[in-house]
Each structure stands twice: as C-alpha cells, then as structure tokens.
C-alpha cells in the first residue's frame, strides 16, 4: 500500500474542513466550527492505476502567515492552498503562506482551490482573475461538491509524483 500525507492550508473560514468533509464523508454543514490545531482524516483513491491512501491533515486557519505551524506541514508530500472566492484578502494570505512554506520547507507541490463557487456571483473578480491562473487553481464548492473530487484527484497525483 502506498501512503502520502497532504495538508490543507488557508485563512480561517475559507472552507478547508468543509472540503475534507465533503470529500471523505460526502456531507456539508452550514455551521462554522473553527478548527483548533489539526484534524487528521484519510481516504484511499485510485491514481494512475495505483491505490494511494491520502492522510489528510486539516490545519487550523491562521490570519497571519507567520503563525501557521510549519511543524504540521513537514512530511507532507503536497498541500492544498485554499482561498474563499468572496474574500480577496484570503488570496493574499494564502499566497503569503505559500511563500513561507517555499522558503522554510522548500518548494512543495501544491494545488490551489478557490472555494465557495456556489456563490460565484459575489466573488471578487480581480483576485480570482489574478490568482486562478497564477496558482493553476481549481474552482470548488464544498456545498455543492463541484470540483471537490477533481481537487483531491489532482493533489493525489501531485503527491504521487513527489514520492520517491
């Protein structure tokens, strides 16, 4: 069996926990319970004709890129960088976090996710137009499930190619 650790990183409330819940348990909850510390989940999926078990570390969102605990990110094969399409500052925070990881851990493969696509009419167009191509990000909605499967397939693929 092949395993990989992946992390979800982003500002508070962007929908990291919701994305994991949607992917692992196929449910969505309107309530917001902020994550403290980290929560670990797992799911096995098939990528490139191999079974890969993703150990998914859902980290607490931080407002300040300085305070994301890199300790939890170490050992990850890849990570998902999440922003909330409606809030431009969550893109900037995500980008700062990405740069900090690059700087302190080294360039790790990542997949960007612009979340809450069910609210696309109130998305912040300039931010989305800038970061969507820059990160090569996917549009996702934990609420409707749109793009979620694809997001995790993509992260699994990246993780797999990052493994020795």
């Amino acid at each position: 069996m092949t395993y990989a650790k992946v992390c979800l990183i982003g500002a508070p409330g962007v929908g990291k926990t919701s994305l994991v819940k949607r992917f692992v348990d196929q449910i969505f909850d309107e309530r917001y319970l902020t994550t403290v510390g980290v929560k670990v989940d797992k799911k096995t999926l098939r990528v490139e004709a191999r079974d890969l078990t993703l150990m998914i570390w859902d980290l607490a969102g931080e407002d300040d890129s300085e305070s994301i605990p890199l300790k939890y990110v170490r050992g990850a094969a890849a990570y998902i960088l999440v922003a909330d399409g409606c809030r431009p500052q969550t893109f900037e925070k995500a980008e700062q976090m990405r740069q900090r990881i690059d700087h302190e851990i080294g360039p790790l493969p990542f997949v960007g996710a612009v979340n809450k696509s069910d609210l696309a009419e109130s998305w912040d167009q300039p931010a989305v137009r800038r970061y969507l191509p820059q990160w090569g990000a996917l549009c996702t909605s934990a609420k409707t499930g749109a793009g979620v499967e694809k997001l995790f397939q993509e992260i699994a693929r990246r993780a797999l190619s990052a493994l020795p």
Binding site: M1, T2, Y3, A4, K5, Y32, L33, T34, T35, V36, G37, V38, K39, V40, D41, K42, T53, M55, W57, A60, P69, K71, Y72, R74, G75, A76, A77, A159, L163, P164
Partner: protein, 526 residues
C-alpha cells in the same frame, strides 16, 4: 666410577681449510655461486625486494597484517591510541560540522543501549525487584516461569511480563514521526483495531501539539495517552516512533522492551527510515518480527467489547479541538477562557478544548493524576464554581517535577508491598533480606531526599501466634530491621517500631511463613 672415552684427534689445520682456495673471481661467478648457495631462496628474495619498493604491492601486503598489527600495538602500550586520537577526533568534528544528524543517527542504537544501561538502571532494579517477588512467591506459576526463564535464557522478570494475566499489549505500531504514516504494525491474536492509519496520524498530531504547547520538543515528548481502557505507550526514536496499545496495568519494565525493539529497528532499518518521505511501506514488513516481541502479557479481553472505536475516542481526546465559534468573542466569556487557558501552565495539565455549552465553560483536556486540582485553581483565580465544567482525561505527564513525584509514588508502592521474612523463632536477618533492605534504604532515601517524613515510617514486626513471647519476638524483628537500616545510613528517627500478632496459622507453610515477617507503612505523600 670413570668412563674412558675414545680420544679425539684434532684435525690438521690445512685439511680443514681446503675450500678456501676457491674464491669469487667475477660478478658472473658470484651470481652462480649465489644461485648455488641460495637456490630458490634467491628468487624469493628478489620478489620480496620488489614488493617492498612497489607502493601498490606494499600497501596490499600491509593491508593483510594491518588489523593484527593494530591489535598487537594496542595490547602492548597506548602509543597507537595517542597517535590516532587527534585523527579520529578531527574526522568526527568534520562529520558533525557537515551534518550533525548523520553521526547522531549512526550512534543512536549504541547510545540508546548505553543510556539504557545507565539512566535506566532504575528499570533494571525494577526488573530485579520483580524477580524477587517471583522468587518469593513459590507458586506453581512462579516455578513454571523460572523453568521457562532458564530454558529461554530470559530473566524471570521478562517471562513474568510475557505471561502476565494483568495486562496485554494489544497492538504495536511503528510510525514515521515526520509524515505520521504507519510503517508497520502487529496485533495480538484476536485484538481489533479500527483504523491504525488514522491513529498514527492523530498521535503524531497530538505529539506535535503537546510539544508545541510545552516548547522543548525533546524532553517533553508525549509518553502515554489514556484512551478509555487502553493506554498508549509511546517511545520516540530519531527516525521512528513506536506505540504500544496496552490494556490493563502494565509494569514500567514494558517500556524497556519497547525501547529495545525501537533501537533494533533503528539499527536494522536506519537508512530506509531516514530516506522515507511517504509512499510504499513494504520495505518495513521485516520489522514486524521485532514488533511481535513487544506483544507481551496475556490478560483476557473484557467480556463487553468497547463501544467506541478506538480512533474515534482519540478524536474525542481533543484532536478535533473544536471551539464553539458563536459567543466566543464576548468579553466576559473570553476572560474566563483566558483564565482557563492559564491552566496549561500548571505542570501535568493540558487544556485541548474549550466550549460554551449550557451557559457553562466546558473545559476538556488531560490531567496527570499527580497534578494540582484544576478546579481549585480556577476558583482561586475568581471563576465561580458553577461557571465551568471540567472533563480532563488521565495521562502521564513528562514534566520533571511530576516524574520525580511519580517515582516517589512507585517507591512507596514497592515499600508498601514488601515483606521481609524470618525463620521460625528467629530474629536473624537472611542474606535475601539484606539485599531487600539495601533496596529499602535506597528507596527511602530517594523518597525523603528533600524533606524527612512528617509522620514516621512504621515498621511492623509480626510473629505466628499471640502472647508475651511472640510479642517480644515480633518487636525484636522490627528492631533488628531498623538497626540494619540505620547501619545502611537511614536516620533512625524516621522509624517507629510496632508489632502485629496473629492467631497461630495452622499447618499451611505459606501462611506460617508470611506470619513471620516485617513490613512497612508509610503516610501518603501530602
């Protein structure tokens, strides 16, 4: 008596020197002569000369005897050692400068062993103490263990652990501490585990979290976590961690078994572990036989299977760390939370989750049984009694003050369970008793190192039967013990002598033996 021997006539000198006229006349002749005289040896000599002059050949020859030469030289005197010392020191220095981890990881198995010998001589003692208990209890089972120990070359203590009915190691997991991924595992027959992968990840996260909350990761590594009826024993190595899921009260010696297994795994899989970044774990399958040896104890499973799934319980442990988001910003409430958060500064208390429910601040986390009372602390800081609800699970903290306290508690327990036996009608102290008393003296000195006992330690002597004679016999036994302890350097004023008499206990030899004993009673630690 004299023996007449035939006379020897000296040879005439010119006859003796007859060959001296044949002298070397030229180089060629000389060569011929050498060949004649030395024959094949001359050829050998030439080969040898060539070998000595050719550096390649010479090095090859030296290499054949080098090891032997070093052994000889170091046996003779210390010159070689002195000569090599600066070279070796330099090499180590350079290696450490380049990457300290290389050397640290290399010597971990060795250092681990050395540490085990010195630091954990405490554990050894306990193993011996366990031996002693077995030796004293001359039950059939004790005898079986001894036979098995003799047969397998293990100590009686180890066999006692392996066969113990008190506890059972249900699962052993080998985890990569960086990724939190499960590398290998082994379970006792019939033992169920829901999701070991998840457990590995979460444990790693808890470990990171605890290390985070306490700073200093090395010394504060999480060592045990209580989960329902299970206790997780965690051993940390530089490249892997080993987790034992244990049901029932296991002896501290079990740690030694785990530690040894982890060291062996480091020695065997060092490179594979160091290089692991995730991915295929099949190269660690071979570690399973080492893990298998950690599956000690034979405690029968409880009749009712646990209702919860192990990892779910773990999640409940505070890994989800979910705060109720609503209301959490209100000033008053926030203040209470800050006060509760300060509990984290108490040794042996970890708050992992706070939540406002039913108008109360619900605080959950861990608490070492030896830590101070958290609700008293909260009240003292001004939180009204009914404004909070604590639900703290037991865990064993790595805080130095608590470790010392726990050691003292273990010593007390050991003392409380000790019996020193006497022969019929005798106050003479047996050789076994002397060894026991040396141990008693050592432990008493540790317990009362910082302050002498507030209440004296009561030394009870007992005798088999009532009446004045038995009473003075019982007392004399207690006095003899105190005298010997005083000789071993334990202050006499720490003790108070007393006696217990019992009705004569018939023909049962074990009971009769046990009635002739001295034992100790200590006040609880305040």
């Amino acid at each position: 008596m004299s023996v007449v021997s035939p006379l020897r006539q000296p040879m005439p000198p010119d006859e003796n020197m007859s060959g001296s006229t044949v002298g070397p006349t030229s180089e060629a002749d000389f060569e011929t002569l050498r060949n004649l005289l030395l024959g094949e040896e001359w050829v050998d000599l030439n080969v040898l000369r060539k070998r000595l002059r050719d550096p390649e050949l010479h090095a090859h020859d030296l290499s054949l005897v080098l090891a032997k030469a070093i052994v000889r030289a170091s046996q003779r005197d210390t010159k070689l050692r002195s000569a090599l010392l600066p070279v070796v020191e330099d090499a180590i220095r350079i290696s450490v400068q380049r990457d300290p981890k290389v050397l640290a990881n290399l010597i971990y198995p060795a250092i681990g062993g050395a540490l085990l010998k010195s630091v954990a001589s405490l554990l050894e003692e306990k193993l011996e103490a366990l031996n002693m208990v077995v030796e004293q209890s001359f039950t059939l089972r004790g005898l079986q263990w001894r036979v098995e120990a003799w047969r397998t070359g293990k100590t009686v203590g180890e066999i006692a652990m392996l066969r113990s009915l008190l506890f059972r190691v249900e699962h052993v997991l080998l985890i990569d501490p960086r990724t939190g991924l499960l590398l290998a595992r082994r379970s006792a027959p019939g033992a169920k585990i829901q999701d070991p992968d998840m457990m590995s990840g979460m444990l790693t996260a808890i470990r990171d979290f605890v290390a985070d909350s306490f700073g200093e990761p090395q010394n504060q590594d999480l060592q045990t976590v209580q989960v329902g009826e299970f206790r997780l024993w965690i051993e940390h190595g530089p490249l892997a961690m080993l987790v034992g899921v244990v049901r029932g009260p296991a002896p501290v010696e079990l740690r030694k078994v785990f530690r040894q297994a982890l060291q062996e795994i480091h020695a065997q899989f060092g490179t594979a572990l160091a290089e692991y970044r995730g991915g295929d774990v099949s190269s660690f399958v071979a570690a399973e036989s080492t893990l298998e040896r950690c599956l000690m104890g034979t405690a029968p499973a409880t009749a009712t299977p646990p209702k919860y799934r192990l990892w779910l319980a773990l999640a409940g442990l505070g890994l989800a760390f979910l705060f109720g988001y609503w209301g959490f910003r209100e000033g008053q409430h926030r203040r209470s939370m800050e006060i509760a958060q300060q509990l984290n500064q108490e040794p042996g208390i970890v708050v992992t989750q706070m939540e406002r429910r039913d108008g109360k601040l619900q605080i959950s986390g861990f608490r070492d049984p030896l830590a101070s009372d958290p609700s008293a602390i909260l009240r003292a800081r001004g939180l009204p009694e009914n404004s909070f609800q604590l639900s703290l699970r037991e865990f064993e903290s790595g805080e130095p003050s608590l470790i010392a306290r726990r050691q003292r508690a273990a010593h007390r327990e050991w003392l409380a369970n000790l019996s020193i036996l006497f022969e019929e009608n005798s106050t003479a102290i047996s050789p076994l008793a002397v060894t026991q008393l040396e141990e008693v003296a050592k432990r008493l000195k540790t317990i009362f190192k910082d302050r002498p006992p507030a209440q004296p330690v009561i030394v009870y002597g007992s005798a088999n039967g009532t009446g004045a004679t038995n009473r003075s016999l019982a007392e004399a036994r207690a006095v003899a013990i105190v005298n010997l302890l005083a000789d071993l350097g334990v202050p006499r004023q720490w003790f108070q002598v007393s006696f217990r008499l019992s009705e004569p206990s018939g023909d049962n030899p074990t009971q009769r033996r046990l009635a002739r004993r001295v034992y100790f009673k200590l006040e609880e630690e305040p």
